[in-house]
């Protein structure tokens, strides 16, 4: 088990290989479909003008994402009525939907770790090599267990995106995951897909 603390230095990233179990501690941000679309359109590509509190939020999340981690997660949160937020269930969501955006977001913010499930494609793998960064696979559906590693909710941005889509700022201790895409060009997902393709073709020939 490799222990990683956020902010994560390049040296630690380069050491990680596909298959390594890791445990992550520090301050991380959740972000999924709406957040990635918003970040890329408003700040990375600039195809949409910043509106309302966009600039303030950008300034607030920039230092958190620099050498940081983003978690593809739409949590169940208690305390919505009082603002005393507590993560009740917080497993990963399917990451591949962010494939059009993720590589650009990693480069723009110098983001070192993308956490989710199901793996990502060639654009993200290329960014993992360049930045450098890693894709960390959390166990899909293990939401109550993973929520135990969220010690504190430090804040939330864009709650108007809805609870699942908001950017939650979290203090995590020993968040469990496995490296499935590393900074050396290796992807467990590409490997399993290729192997299962061969098996499928054999079965279809029957």
């Amino acid at each position: 088990m490799q222990k990683l603390s956020i902010p994560i230095p390049d040296q630690a990233i380069r050491k990680l290989k596909v298959g390594d179990p890791v445990s992550l501690s520090g301050t991380m941000l959740t972000g999924r479909d709406a957040a990635h679309k918003w970040m890329v359109e408003t700040f990375v590509k600039g195809t949409r003008q910043p509106q309302g509190d966009d600039q303030e939020i950008y300034q607030a999340i920039k230092p958190l994402l620099d050498r940081g981690a983003i978690y593809h997660c739409g949590p169940v949160v208690a305390g919505l009525e009082t603002g005393d937020y507590r993560f009740v269930a917080a497993g990963p969501t399917t990451s591949i939907r962010e494939e059009p955006y993720q590589g650009d977001v990693m480069r723009h913010f110098n983001l070192k770790a993308v956490i989710g499930k199901g793996g990502m494609g060639p654009k993200t793998l290329a960014a993992c090599k360049d930045v450098p960064g890693v894709y960390l696979h959390a166990i899909g559906g293990a939401a109550t267990l993973i929520a135990q590693s969220v010690k504190q909710v430090l804040g939330v941005h864009k709650l108007d995106f809805g609870v699942p889509e908001a950017l939650w700022v979290l203090e995590v201790v020993d968040f469990p995951a496995v490296v499935t895409m590393d900074s050396h060009g290796n992807s467990l997902h590409a490997e399993i897909e290729a192997k299962s393709k061969v098996a499928l073709e054999e079965l279809l020939a029957d």
């Binding site: 169940v76 559906g141 809805g162 467990l188 997902h189 399993i192 098996a199 279809l204």
Partner: protein, 290 residues
């Protein structure tokens, strides 16, 4: 007809926080088949720990509590309008209590309603009048990750060499499992419908998911196909979470439906390992949950 709102709330709580025993048993068996020290074994250990913890804490097994899909079978003379109101009230309360995540998003404005109440189809409620004096309600909580990897095929499919027969059905179902990889939270359960129109076929594939894990199909041809598909899907080697391993699917449930002469649809609904289905049976003076 008395008010069943609190009974429906308990049904939702149970579905979200505690897996049915047959599903948990099949997960334990799948864990034991994975090699010691493998990533697949680690994933299965973690998800089983999570199941135990969710039951003890009364918190959701998975944060994506999905679309609540209710099948309501009611005696003659009951008001489906009132039953729907009670179900909707229970769903909103379950959301307030954090058993469910607010999941109903307006497709035009992008706004989340905050209480899981959307239009008439969210939550989804099917009604059927049945004989007898008991109210029987089945609930399935199906998350978006696995819903997104569902697939519908129109046979024949030349690319897969799939004709309009059970051999063709086999090929497209294997293709759907390959395409899903680990993205639907493998190991999953496949609900398959053969026939119907595009809409009824997808409904049929979801209805098939209400069968128990160890319930063999009464039709011997389909029972054989279910067994073969399970073996062959596991030969793809995708494994838990797509990490590679012995178990890619926990079970295959097929439903055959009538079709038009011109159409031959095969619909596959992929249910994640967190197969959250529960049943409530309400008599005149007590309520039982399965």
């Amino acid at each position: 007809m008395r008010d069943h709102t609190s009974d429906f709330l308990e049904l939702v709580r149970l579905a979200a926080t505690d897996l049915p025993p047959d599903v948990e048993a099949s997960l334990v068996a799948a864990r034991d088949r994975e090699a010691a020290g493998s990533a697949a074994r680690g994933a299965m250990d973690t998800l089983l720990q999570n199941v135990t913890m969710a039951r003890q804490n009364g918190t959701p097994i998975c944060q994506d509590t999905g679309t609540p899909i209710f099948y309501v079978r009611h005696p003659e003379g009951w008001s489906t309008r009132k039953l729907r109101q009670q179900i909707r009230a229970a769903v909103a309360e379950a959301t307030r209590l954090a058993y469910l995540r607010p999941n109903a998003v307006d497709s035009l404005s992008g706004k989340n309603s905050g209480n899981n109440l959307g239009d008439e189809a969210f939550p989804t409620v099917h009604f059927e009048e049945v004989e007898g004096d008991k109210l029987v309600v089945d609930l399935l909580l199906k998350g978006g990750g696995c819903e997104n990897v569902g697939a519908q095929y129109s046979l024949p499919n030349a690319a897969l060499g799939a004709g309009r027969d059970l051999g063709g059905v086999r090929k497209v179902v294997l293709d759907a499992v390959y395409r899903a990889q680990g993205k639907g939270c493998a190991p999953g359960v496949l609900g398959v419908a053969i026939g119907g129109d595009r809409g009824s076929s997808y409904y049929g594939s979801k209805e098939a998911l209400f069968r128990k894990m160890d319930d063999p199909h009464p039709d011997p041809q389909l029972a054989e196909l279910e067994g073969r598909l399970m073996t062959e899907a596991n030969e793809l080697g995708i494994g838990p979470m797509g990490f590679g391993g012995e178990t890619t699917v926990l079970g295959v449930k097929i439903q055959s439906m009538h079709r038009l002469p011109a159409s031959y649809f095969v619909s596959v609904s992929y249910m994640c390992w967190a197969h959250r289905r529960r049943r409530m049976i309400a008599g005149s003076d007590h309520v039982a949950y399965q």
